[in-house]
């Protein structure tokens, strides 16, 4: 390919507040049309916006999550345009003085993607089209849902960088408690600006903007389609038009959203209904101090300090609740790898099977840690540990008690085991002989017989050693 794609992202993330950004209607999902609407968010005459403090807090948290500067002074502006999902005919947003500026996220092994700004704004309503009647129906439930827009510089040069960035942002926002980042519900939406630059050049081409991508798959396909489309245009000597394009998930292509007014003139000006907002250094620092560890920092801790393989660490970190669970478990029993292994094998499998999410785990990290500890100390077998986890999924109990009740405690009584082994050897003289003749495969069968008779409490290592010894002692 002769061209490098140059991309910038605008990510809209819905803030996890209880109420909307400029009124007290609930910030929720679903429900009947126009059931979460009041005079303010429906733009009734004489009503005024009241900024939600928590929206500010969460936006500042997003700033810290993405290594931004959180500004002492920020202010709102009006973005004016007529559209039936926008009842005031302007969107309240932050244009001149956003709350956060100058952040970055590292992708693909260290490339820095600069974040220009994060600003707070309100979401618009929803239109349902009635093709039969040729009209649309406006539902304002979503009007005034608080959003942040995270604007990157045009620093992306590959699809992978874009995908990793979005993945990281989604995860960090979840960690910071800013946004649930459910792309399928629209709580995280991505706009991609994309242009092509010839190899060796430093001058960006004309960009197209693809709006409202709401899955990783559509981001990838839309970018790939757009690279192909723009390449074809440039190859054939044409010019890319600066425009907004819509991605069609069914066709996997993008289409121009050309409207009558080609160039929008949003007539931004300072929102006169909301004074600028001032945060003291103390207030900003208090928000910062309240930040949890971010996943990229946690990854370094898990790999460098705990020695977990990177893939394992990523798997745990991908789910904050699970990762928090892990952190609490290793406080009880700091065998990092063993705890991680049982989480990755048994907890993840049970989570998948049961459909429970990690934040709703029925048992404590302590019960879990003790289970791992028993297994590691040879008190119970590895298999028994798995069985205990299964039982814990139903109800939190003392794992020692579970082990006792289920006969999981390993029997280290050599006498009893010896008796079982002697009896197995005498019952299977032929097979023992065959083993002694060099047929190693049959050893497993003999072990199976031993464990079956000795029960789960038998210490497998001990049984193995004894069986070998007894066979060797046999006269042959």
């Amino acid at each position: 390919m002769k061209y490098i794609p140059v991309m910038g992202l605008e990510i809209h993330a819905e803030l996890s507040t209880a109420s909307k950004v400029f009124c007290s209607c609930a910030n929720d999902f679903g429900g009947g049309e126009n059931t979460r609407v009041c005079p303010r968010c429906s733009g009734m005459p004489g009503t005024l916006p009241l900024i939600n403090q928590n929206a500010y807090t969460l936006a500042a948290r997003a700033g810290f999550a993405l290594d931004c500067r959180v500004n002492n002074y920020s202010a709102f502006d009006r973005k004016n345009y007529f559209y039936p999902d926008l009842p005031k005919a302007y969107q309240i947003t932050q244009f001149e003085h956003p709350i956060c500026t100058d952040g970055f996220v590292e992708v693909c092994g260290g490339r820095k993607i600069r974040i220009n700004r994060i600003h707070i704004e309100e979401d618009a309503g929803k239109l349902v089209h009635d093709d039969y009647e040729g009209v649309s129906m406006a539902d304002y439930n979503r009007c005034g849902v608080p959003l942040i827009e995270i604007v990157s510089e045009a620093d992306f040069r590959s699809v992978d960088e874009v995908l990793e960035y979005v993945e990281q942002i989604a995860l960090r926002l979840k960690y910071a408690g800013v946004c649930d980042a459910k792309m399928e519900q629209g709580s995280l939406r991505v706009d991609v600006n994309i242009s092509l630059m010839p190899y060796g050049s430093e001058i960006f081409g004309t960009r197209a903007e693809i709006k409202n991508l709401n899955s990783f798959k559509s981001i990838k396909r839309a970018i790939e389609y757009e690279i192909e489309r723009q390449t074809e245009i440039l190859e054939s000597g044409g010019k890319v038009v600066q425009e907004t394009r819509h991605y069609n998930d069914n066709h996997g292509d993008t289409k121009s959203l050309r409207s009558k007014e080609e160039a929008h003139d949003y007539r931004y000006f300072p929102e006169p209904d909301i004074p600028p907002i001032f945060m003291t250094d103390e207030q900003i620092n208090a928000i910062k101090a309240d930040m949890p560890e971010m996943p990229h920092k946690r990854l370094i801790r898990y790999t460098d300090k705990y020695g977990l393989p990177e893939d394992d660490a990523r798997l745990i970190i991908a789910d904050k609740a699970l990762s928090d669970f892990y952190d609490k478990a290793i406080e009880v029993y700091p065998n990092y790898k063993a705890v991680s292994n049982l989480i990755l094998v048994e907890v993840l499998r049970n989570l998948n099977d049961s459909g429970i999410s990690a934040e709703n785990l029925q048992f404590t990290p302590k019960s879990f840690a003790e289970t791992v500890k028993m297994s590691e100390n040879g008190v119970i077998s590895k298999n028994a540990a798995k069985d205990i986890v299964k039982i814990l999924f139903k109800k939190d109990r003392d794992p020692k008690k579970i082990a006792e009740e289920n006969g999981f405690l390993m029997n280290n009584d050599t006498g009893a085991l010896e008796a079982v082994i002697n009896s197995i050897i005498s019952q299977n003289a032929d097979i023992v002989q065959s083993y002694k003749n060099g047929n190693n495969k049959v050893f497993g069968f003999l072990m199976g017989q031993v464990i079956q008779q000795a029960g789960k409490s038998a210490n497998p290592q001990l049984a193995k050693d004894l069986l070998t010894k007894k066979i060797m002692e046999q006269e042959g």
């Binding site: 005079p39 429906s42 733009g43 009734m44 005459p45 004489g46 009503t47 005024l48 916006p49 009241l50 900024i51 009006r78 004016n80 007529f82 559209y83 039936p84 009842p87 005031k88 005919a89 302007y90 040729g134 649309s136 406006a138 009558k260 003139d265 007539r267 931004y268 000006f269 006169p272 209904d273 909301i274 004074p275």
Partner: protein
């Protein structure tokens, strides 16, 4: 009768609240057709509420405004009572909420007589742009009542209410008060909540009071002022009891006369009357200081750019979809709302919207909106300078007295220039009160304005009252 006296009469049962409201309703029925100060008269509710007020008075639990019949400008929202802004656009709009100022009056069990006429969306200085027909001046029904709170001022002047709520964005309480010979108080920006006031220019709008005297205006302001969590621009500063200094000695008070307000553009009779008021103050021991507001020459342009820019945005919500007039024409959203807005708005509103969008549009923003915002900062500074050496400022309220209907309302530039005396007060967010200081050769009232430091309503009301105590008012002819 002063509101405090009316209060005393109601409390001592010399007059009943129901009887009082009937007196006003009868007078409205008899006289309002000649001045058209009301758009909606709330006859039944008024009688009902007066009855309720009476029972509260009987129980000895009256608040200052219990049972007092007031009018409210029709751009201030009243629950279940239509609020039209004198526009076809909102002809049938019935809000489900009260403006905070109205809610506070209701908490005192006031009696709402009706909603007063005005310039459409409060844009104008004549109250002739109302969709429901213009207001006439109670001193001479051939003349305008001023605007935009012309109905409010006329309703007070013609004694069709005890006092009135208006709104003042660039002089809309003070100028009609001057034209109609009554007292108009525009409080400091943020003192009265704007919640429920249909926005014209958010950063300049302020609910004000029109009454028979400065004392009455303060009496009503005490009821409606105060921080409101429903309005982010509402001030947390308390102004206290604004009538507190009424009757106090004003000796030694420094009154500034900015020379730019007495230029050639101001009618000679007006100048003379205001200057004689200055003499009055000097005679009672005040110090008159000549001062200057050098940027006044920019004020009208800056005001129209800022207010129109905000108005263009504020009025964009009127598209006929959620409420208000909706055109039958136009199949697409854009066509339909463009026809709705064409049919629903009058010419002056359209001019302001176009001007506002011009000032904000790409390529013009810096030259117009931004420069206007710079001038605004400059004017704020110049007022601060003046107030470093003066306690109050005295100016004419309007360059002329009320003129004949049809004289200049159709010449926008002339109309805009006529706001020269009032707009800087809104630009700087200051309190000001206008009262009558004389009459012209045709017997039309002349207004003067006293402008105070931010949140110092007390002083201007006291200074205004001092003049009113000795000024002989001529009653309106209607």
């Amino acid at each position: 009768m002063k509101l405090s006296e009316l209060r005393a009469q109601l409390d001592s049962k010399k007059i009943g609240a129901v009887e009082l409201v009937h007196r006003y309703l009868d007078k409205i029925q008899k006289n309002d057709s000649s001045i058209h100060s009301y758009i909606t008269v709330c006859r039944e509710e008024a009688i009902k509420n007066a009855g309720k007020a009476q029972s509260i008075i009987d129980a000895g639990k009256a608040s200052p405004l219990t049972g007092i019949p007031l009018s409210v400008k029709d751009n201030i929202c009243t629950e279940n009572i239509r609020t039209t802004c004198a526009s076809k656009m909102l002809e049938n709009f019935v809000p489900d909420y009260n403006a905070t100022a109205v809610r506070k009056l209701i908490e005192q069990n006031y009696v709402l007589l009706g909603k007063t006429n005005m310039d459409e969306f409060a844009m104008g200085g004549s109250s002739q742009t109302s969709y429901f027909g213009g207001v006439r001046n109670p001193y001479n029904t051939d003349c305008v009542a001023g605007g935009s709170s012309g109905g409010a001022a006329a309703s007070v002047a013609a004694d069709l209410c005890a006092a009135a709520l208006g709104s003042d964005t660039g002089g809309s309480v003070r100028q009609p008060s001057a034209f109609c010979g009554v007292t108009g108080l525009k409080p400091t920006y943020g003192v009265v909540s704007r919640y429920g006031l249909v926005a014209f220019a958010s950063s300049l709008d302020q609910i004000g009071i029109i009454a028979n005297s400065a004392e009455d205006a303060g009496y009503v302001l005490n009821a409606i002022c105060g921080y409101d969590s429903f309005d982010s621009t509402s001030s947390r500063a308390s102004i206290g009891d604004v009538t507190e200094k009424i009757g106090a000695d004003i000796k030694g008070l420094k009154i500034g006369l900015p020379k730019e307000f007495f230029s050639d553009g101001i009618n000679a009779e007006v100048k003379k009357a205001v200057m004689s008021a200055a003499e009055f103050y000097e005679n009672v021991g005040c110090k008159i200081i000549e001062t200057s507001l050098p940027s006044l020459e920019y004020a009208v342009s800056a005001y129209y750019l800022i207010s129109s820019a905000e108005a263009a945005s504020n009025l964009s919500r009127f598209d006929g979809i959620k409420y208000g007039h909706r055109s039958d024409e136009g199949d697409s959203f854009n066509d339909n709302i463009s026809h709705t807005r064409r049919e629903g708005f009058g010419d002056e509103v359209k001019r302001r919207i176009l001007l506002g969008n011009y000032a904000l549009s790409s390529g013009y923003y810096d030259a117009y909106y931004k420069n206007a915002a710079r001038i605004r900062a400059q004017i704020v500074e110049e007022y601060n300078d003046i107030f470093s050496s003066c306690d109050v400022i005295l100016t004419p309220t309007a360059p002329t007295t009320a003129y004949k209907i049809g004289f200049q309302e159709n010449d926008p530039v002339k109309m805009y220039l006529a706001d020269i005396c009032t707009v800087t007060v809104n630009i700087a967010g200051l309190p000001a009160v206008s009262t009558t200081c004389g009459y012209d050769e045709n017997g039309m009232p002349i207004g003067m304005s006293l402008v105070g430091k931010a949140f110092d309503e007390k002083t201007i009301l006291s200074v205004c009252d001092r003049f009113e105590q000795e000024f002989e008012k001529l009653e309106a002819t209607i």
